[in-house]
Amino acid sequence: MQRPGNGTLVFILAGLLVLSIVFILLFAVPGLVYPTDDNPSISLLYASAGSMPQLLNTNQIDAFLIWEPVVSNAQLSGIGKRIAVPADLPPPGKWNNSAINVLVLRNRVISQEPDSSALLSALTTAAINRTSEDPALAENITATWVFGNNPILTPVGSLNPITVEEQSFANMAFTARAVPPESGIVQSVMATTTDTAYNPLSMMNVSVARRGEQFLNGSLVPHTGGSVPTINIGYIPSTDNYAPLYVMVKDSTYFCNRYNFCLVADNPQASRPTSCTLLVQGEPFAKVNLIPGQSGGGIMTTIGQNALDGAFVGSVPAELQIGLGNPSSIIQSINTGGSGLVVGNKAPCRDWPGFVRWAKTRSAAGKPLVIATVQSSIQEDMVREACTYENITVTLYGTNFETDFT
C-alpha cells in the first residue's frame, strides 16, 4: 500500500509486539484446557433454574442439581431422570436435618418491629404445619402460584401442574426446626475474606421465633397505637420450596379463624399477590409486600441496601452474606430436601454411586461431565461437598480454575 515512514513503522512494530504479548498472556492464563492432573474432575456450570432442563435436553450439560419443581417438571416432561436427593449425597447424613431454605429478617426491622417480625415467624410456622397436614391444598395453591395454573408445555406435550406438584411435594419436607447447615462454600469464602469465625448457629436470632410461638399459643398481640409499618419481603417465585408462604397468603381465612392473625392479599384474585396486609383481630397491623427476586444472593444484597426488610431465601446465600457482614439474622428454617440430581434418560447411572463411577470414567476419557447449578446456592454447595468427598475435583466450566474448600 505505502512505504511508511520510519516513525510509523516503529509504531506499527511496537503495536504488533504489544499485541503478541497480550495474546500470549490471554491464552496462556485462563485457558480452555482441562486440567491434566491425575485426579478425576467434573465441570461445574452456573445457570439459571429455568434454563437447566433445556440445557440437559440439548446435551450441553450432563446433569443438574436444582430445587423443586424444576426436578419434577424435568422428570415428567421426559427430559431426564432423578437419581439422587440431598439425603443421598455425601458426606453421609450431612443434609438430613439441614435447613435448605430459611426466613431472614434485617436486624433493624427485628428491633423496630418486634411484633410484626414475630407474627411473620408465627405464620410461617403455622403455614408449615398446615402444608404438612393438607398437602393437596398446598399443591393446588403452589401450582397456581408457581405455574399460574396453566398447562405446562413440554417437548412431549402438556403437563397438568398439579401432577408436577404432587411429585414435587413428595420430595419436600417442611419444618421450622431444621438447622442452618455448615456450608463448605461459606467456610472457604469467609476464611479468605473476614476474620470472623464461621458458626451458622450464631447467625440465627431465635428470640423472634420464640415470641412467634407465644403468639401461636394464644398470647395477645400488643396494640401499637395506630402506625402501620410497611415491611418488604423478598422470595423466589419459581420454587416450590416456599409453599408455606403461598399457603399463608392464599389460605389466609384458615389462619384468621384459627389464630386471630393472618396475612391477607389486597387482591386475592391475583395468582401472585404482591401487596398484603397483616391483620390482627381484623385490624391492619402492618403492610407486607411480597417482592419476587431472581437469586438468593441478589435478594440478600437488596436487604443490605435497606430496600428489602427480609426474605424467604436459601440458607447458603443467607449464611454467605451474613457471614460477610450483612446486618440480618436467620429466624427459622422452612424446609429440608426439596432438590434433586437429574441426569439424561440415557445416562449410565441410577444412583449417586453410579454417577460417581460415570464421572470418573468420563474424566479419564478426557471428557469430564458437566453439571449445572445455580451459583452460590445450597445446591452448589451440595455438589462441591459431595464431589470433594469422592475425590473428584470441581472445575469451573470454560476455565481450568479448580474450586476447593480451603
Binding site: M1, Q2, G7, T8, V10, F11, G15, V22, F23, L25, L26, F27, V29, P30, L32, L44, L45, Y46, A47, S48, S51, L55, T58, Q60, I61, I185, S188, V189, T192, T193, S295, G296, G297, G298, M300, T301, G304, Q305, N306, P317, L320, Q321, L324, G325, N326, Q375, S376, L396, Y397, G398, T399, F401, T403, T406
Partner: protein, 261 residues
C-alpha cells in the same frame, strides 16, 4: 517518538481534576451513609484494585477475570472485523449489492446484541462460543457501516485516476478504495471495540459463564460485596479508556493526511 504532547497532558490533567472531585464527593457520601451495600468507601474499592492477583471471594483473581474478558472481546472483535471490512468494501463499492442488503442491515443494526443471547446459546452452546457470537454481533455493525460510508466517501476523482492508469477492479479496491476509506474504517474499529467491550461485560452477567469481569460483578452482587463491583467498574472504564487512547494515537499517526488533502 512523542505520542503525547504537553497540551494533551494539560487536557488530561483537567479531566483528572473532575474525576478527583467526584471521588471526594463519593467518599463524603459514603461516610455519611455508612452502608457498604449502598456506597462502599473508596478505600475498600482501591484495596481490591491494589491486589489484582489475589483470589476474590474464593474465586479467581481480578487479573485472571479481566484477562478472560479481554480474550473474549479481542477474539470477537477480530472476527467481526474480518467479516465486516470485506463486506463493507463490497457493499460500498457496488450500488447494486447495496440495494439488496441495505434493508436487512438497517433492520438488524438497532437490535441490541444481548437480545441475541437465547439464539446464541441455542446455536453455539453455553460458554465461550455463544459469548463470542454476541460480541461479534455487537462489533460487526459499526465496522460495516463505517466501511460502507468510508468507501462511498472516497473521492470519485481518485478512482478516475486509477481507471485512467488501467487498474483492474481488484487493484482499484486495493490501491485506492481501501486506503481512501481507511480513516473511516479506523473510526469504525474504535467505536466497535467500545461496543464489544460493553457487550462482553453484559453477556457474562447472563447465566452460563464462570469467569470474566461481568461474571465477577454478578458474583460480587450475589455476595453483597459492592466494593468488588466498584473495582470491576473501574477496570472496565480503564480498559475502555486505554483502548480509545490507542486507537486515537493510531489515527494521528497513520492518517495525518486526513483533512488536509
Amino acid at each position: 517518538m512523542v505520542l503525547i504532547s504537553r497540551q494533551t497532558l494539560l487536557e488530561y490533567g483537567k479531566g483528572l481534576l473532575v474525576i478527583v472531585l467526584l471521588l471526594v464527593a463519593w467518599e463524603g457520601f459514603a461516610l455519611l451513609i455508612q452502608n457498604n451495600y449502598i456506597l462502599p468507601p473508596l478505600g475498600e474499592i482501591f484495596s481490591v484494585l491494589l491486589h489484582p492477583t489475589e483470589p476474590i471471594l474464593g474465586g479467581q483473581s481480578l487479573l485472571a477475570n479481566t484477562l478472560v474478558s479481554l480474550r473474549e472481546v479481542l477474539t470477537g472483535f477480530l472476527v467481526a472485523a474480518a467479516l465486516a471490512i470485506p463486506s463493507g468494501l463490497l457493499i460500498g463499492w457496488s450500488r447494486e449489492i447495496q440495494v439488496y442488503f441495505n434493508p436487512v442491515i438497517q433492520i438488524l443494526r438497532p437490535v441490541p446484541p444481548i437480545a441475541w443471547m437465547p439464539f446464541a446459546i441455542a446455536w453455539f452452546g453455553i460458554g465461550f462460543n455463544s459469548i463470542l457470537f454476541i460480541i461479534a454481533m455487537g462489533a460487526f455493525f459499526p465496522i460495516l457501516i463505517n466501511t460502507i460510508d468510508g468507501v462511498q466517501g472516497v473521492r470519485k476523482r481518485w478512482i478516475e485516476v486509477s481507471e485512467m492508469f488501467h487498474a483492474t477492479t481488484f487493484e482499484q479496491l486495493k490501491t485506492v478504495v481501501f486506503p481512501g476509506a481507511l480513516p473511516m474504517i479506523w473510526t469504525g474499529l474504535r467505536v466497535s471495540f467500545g461496543v464489544a467491550w460493553m457487550c462482553v461485560v453484559a453477556a457474562e452477567m447472563l447465566p452460563g459463564t464462570s469467569a470474566g469481569v461481568g461474571f465477577l460483578i454478578m458474583y460480587a452482587y450475589n455476595l453483597g460485596q459492592i466494593q468488588v463491583i466498584g473495582a470491576g467498574m473501574v477496570i472496565i472504564g480503564i480498559i475502555g479508556l486505554g483502548a480509545d487512547i490507542i486507537f486515537r494515537a493510531g489515527q494521528a499517526r497513520l492518517f495525518g493526511w486526513q483533512g488536509k488533502e
